[in-house]
Amino acid sequence: MNIVSALKQGLALNQKNIKIVPLIYAVNFFLALIFAVPFFVGLHQSIGDLGVRNDLLQGFSLEWWSAIELDADGLLVTLRPALASGYGALFDNAQLLLTGGFKSFGWWILAFGVLYLVVSVFLNGGAIALYADEKRTFSSSRFFSSAGYYFHHFVAITATAILLYFILYKVISPVILNSVAGWTALSSPRVVWWMNFAVFLVILVIVLLLNLIMDYAKIILVVEKKNSAWMAIASAAKFAATHLWGTTGLYLLLSILAIVISLAFAGLLTVLHPSDVIVLFIVFSVQQAFIFAKIWMRLNYYTAQLSYYSDAQTNVRKLRKV
């Protein structure tokens, strides 16, 4: 199967089980809402009757933000001018993936993020089990029972992944970046910039390759009904290596699709400047659609890679029979 066919099959598979997307979206939305309420209260107390509220409504207020940066604690300190741009969140995401600086927004936000991660691990088990199910129709009881069944295996895979990412962010990246700083101490600014850019590109490739292997590990664990998460990771690594062009090509294709969708939404959000209630409602709706699309896209990685893997394994079995 070529990667385009895998992508098409994956999209169809995701479509058949589309009910999973709103389920995950709801978790994301309500978890964020838990923070949004105190954030709103704090912000309203700070600016509700101040003149700077007009600046904040039209754009941003450096006068207010400068004081907040110095004195405020809690959630308000995470408010930044970059959020006014639709691209702000994307740049933040990219930075997090490349540096692993997840605690930069405070421990509470990180704690809830980890909670969301755990819930996602649980839901992934249900989702991949449903996708792999031959009947391929959504059933909530089968979804949750599968999620529970695979949970501990998926936790093991995620824990392994986090350990590897930790080594990447805290050991490998600093060593490479410090070495580059040493090698380029006397180089021109342009050379230094491109060298660092290249390093971040390498880090990105490692991050994505690790993610690719962990995706296949989860798929193999479910499809092959493996009992060991680490065996699944080993099989996934082997599969990715033996099907290097197919697996990376498909991952790249999915990533391009994700980037195009993200840029389109970010562009739209940047164009829309909410300064009245109607536009604000539109922006909020577009933003939520963006999150929905992001979750949908994340699940596409599983469905497309599952299709690719299943097809590859079918071919192997056929060959063995022959």
Partner: protein, 666 residues
């Protein structure tokens, strides 16, 4: 043809002489003649200096003090390195990164003097002693003293000859070498300033810059072939011989001389022209890979010459050299007479920060170059006024500055995200820089006396600039421009002190600003004006006895239900006292303006009327840029949720994305 060229040449010469006001108005205290030879492999400059120093007035003196600033880089005992280590993380100060051969020094081989009409040269080398006018500073050797055989009187001159070798350090703090680039500043025995019978000759501190008398320089430089050379002053001639090029530079009415020699440099020449200002030849020495930026650099320099020239005094010299110093050389961003250095980084080239740097350094040709206060004692006088003029010029030339966020920020790396629709005045950036340092130090003190480097920078540069912005806000642009112009004209080629600036303010300001200037410059006083309360409520019904206390004279009136009692309270939450504007906006859109002298801690305005108050603002135009909380200047009577809703919505979206990034690892 030759004849035509000759006539055209004469015409151009005369024309340029007419347009250019060659500075002669300065009191020339010093006259330096230096011959120097650069040895690139040894990183040394061997020099011969002949100095004529004329006693500027006052009591006779026998001791002469000199700067030997290359000794700041001599060893770990120098004041510079000790101060630098004080503020560096362990193992991170530059001294700890230096190899043995990377230190620098000044070696004075001989020192003789000729007094008055005596032809005999007196050897002063045995009397040479490393000490400052205030005594010895531990093992620091950046100031030395020589003792003449007899005191010299006011108006009398002494001619001194020095043979010296300056070993350049690896580039550090405005001086030294990096690869094939040599920047040679503070490199010769430079005499201190005798002022009111006191010598001003500061040792080389980590913070703080320089001070010297005006005079004339004639400098012969012998540089190996293959280098581009730039220096203070005008190139008189150059001669190639034996693999060396001999240059002669000369300049009157300057107080220092710096030069550079570098390989892989390109030279661009351009003439600045403006109908109201004399022409200036710009000489840009730019690293070859930065050549695409040449037009930007020249344009920014022209903008600085234009606005500073129009607002202060015209740039009086024939040329101006701009040196693009290598990145990380610690040399870019410094000023010398008729020459300044810049440093191009990936970050500043991606924004208007490069232009800000150029305008600032070029601006020092005016505030430092011509109006030459003692930078070591009163850094704010040049840095603060220059930072103010820089922000003003940047706004005039480039408008509002875009808001940028830098991602993946490292030394030499970062990806900028420009936030659409968000831009601000350069003075607001200065205000943001100042906020965290508010109250930590006072502005008017010696540069070496600040609590730390950050405090020195903030107080001398940004807070002092904000004092200027506040003066402009209170007095109006026209009056303050007159102050700046008068101050610059009066102290051109002179050495003003803070009291001179304050005197000019007093002369021109229609209001008494003594208390403000004292608090702003000599104390760490806080400045904050705020609207504390805005109220409108139904007026109390008229009840009780009115008129004569006789039966039947009383009445029980009913209140006019439409009548509202309005009340505004504004507060002064700091010690800085200034008159402020108060602007009240009524619900029908009508505005009422008041002025409050700001003397009391609070001020209430009350009245009854049919229309309620919508909002009140104290200092609505943000004239008082020293105000540490500009956000509390305007307050509405009623709260509104729109802005909070908008930003909560945007923030929640961001948080949802954050959660999804973590889900990437699931």
């Amino acid at each position: 043809m030759k004849k035509v060229c000759f006539i055209v040449g004469i015409f151009l010469l005369l024309n340029s002489a007419k347009a250019q006001i060659e500075p002669t108005a300065c009191q020339s205290v010093v006259d330096y003649h230096i011959s120097a030879k650069l040895n690139p492999s040894l990183k040394t400059v061997e020099g011969k200096l002949m100095l004529r120093w004329t006693h500027p007035g006052g009591r006779p003196v026998a001791e002469l003090y000199f700067h030997a600033y290359p000794n700041a880089f001599k060893n770990s005992s120098s004041l510079l390195f000790r101060e630098q280590a004080r503020w560096s993380k362990p193992g991170k100060s530059q001294i700890e990164q230096f190899q043995d051969d990377e230190f620098g020094y000044m070696d004075i081989q001989s020192c003789t003097a000729q007094l008055g009409r005596d032809l005999q040269k007196i050897d002063l080398r045995p009397s040479l002693e490393y000490r400052t006018p205030n005594g010895k500073v531990d093992d620091d050797e950046t100031v030395f003293c020589v003792t003449l055989p007899r005191p010299i009187n006011a108006g009398e001159s002494v001619v001194m000859d020095f043979d010296f070798t300056t070993k350049l350090p690896r580039s550090i703090l405005r001086s030294g070498y990096q690869d094939n680039f040599f920047f040679v500043s503070q490199w010769y025995p430079k005499i201190g300033v005798l002022e009111q019978d006191l010598w001003h000759c500061e040792p080389y501190h980590r913070d703080g810059e320089f001070y010297a008398n005006f005079g004339s320089f004639s400098v012969d430089l012998e540089i190996p072939s293959g280098y581009q050379v730039g220096a203070t002053g005008v190139l008189q001639d150059s001669l190639v011989s034996d693999g060396f090029v001999k240059y002669r530079f000369a300049q009157n009415c300057v107080h220092d001389f710096a030069w550079m020699a570098g390989k892989n440099y390109r030279m661009r020449r351009h003439t600045f022209q403006h109908p109201e200002l004399p022409p200036v030849e710009l000489i840009l020495l730019v690293q070859s890979f930065n050549e695409p930026l040449a037009d930007r650099i020249i344009k920014a320099t022209e903008n600085a010459l234009k606005y500073y020239g129009l607002w202060t005094v015209p740039y009086p010299y024939q040329n101006l050299t701009i040196v693009d110093a290598p990145w990380r050389s610690n040399i870019g961003g410094m000023e010398y007479p008729t020459l300044f250095t810049i440093e191009v980084t990936q970050e500043n080239r991606a924004s208007l920060s490069l232009e800000s740097l150029i305008v600032h350094e070029c601006g020092h040709q005016f505030w430092y170059g011509m109006v030459a206060n003692n930078e070591a004692q009163h850094a704010w006088l040049d840095e603060g006024i220059n930072s103010f003029t820089e922000a003003r010029a940047m706004n005039a030339a480039y408008g509002l500055l875009p808001q940028q966020s830098i991602y993946l920020k490292l030394d030499g790396f970062g990806i900028p995200l420009t936030i659409p629709g968000l831009a601000y005045h350069a003075r607001l950036r200065q205000w943001r820089d100042f906020l965290p340092q508010n109250g930590r130090d006072i502005i008017d003190q010696p540069s070496s006396a600040f609590i730390d480097h950050r405090s020195y920078m903030t107080n001398s540069y940004t807070k002092a600039a904000l004092v200027m912005w506040t003066l402009e806000g209170i007095l109006g642009e026209e009056t303050f421009s007159q102050i700046i112009k008068t101050y610059s004209q009066r102290f051109r080629f002179a050495h003003p002190k803070p009291e001179d600036f304050i005197q000019v303010v007093k002369e021109i300001s229609p209001i008494d600003l003594n208390d403000f200037l004292h608090r702003a410059l000599q104390t760490g006083s806080r400045c904050d004006y705020a609207v504390d309360r805005v109220e409108s409520r139904p007026a109390i019904a008229e009840k009780g006895f009115f008129g004569e206390h006789e039966a039947g004279a009383s009445k029980k009136a009913t209140a006019d239900e439409k009548l509202l009692w309005n009340s505004i309270v504004v507060q002064r939450r700091g010690e800085v006292i200034l008159p402020v504007d108060i602007e009240i906006t009524l619900e029908n859109g009508e505005t009422i303006k008041h002025q409050w002298d700001g003397q009391s801690l609070w001020h209430r305005i009350e009245w009854s009327g049919e229309v309620g108050v919508q909002k009140a603002a104290v200092d609505p135009e943000h004239k008082i840029m020293l105000d540490v909380d500009l956000a509390n200047n305007t307050r509405y009577r009623q709260k509104s949720i729109s802005a909070s809703l908008k930003w909560t919505s945007l923030w929640m979206g961001w948080l949802q994305h954050f959660f999804e990034v973590l889900a990437f690892f699931s």
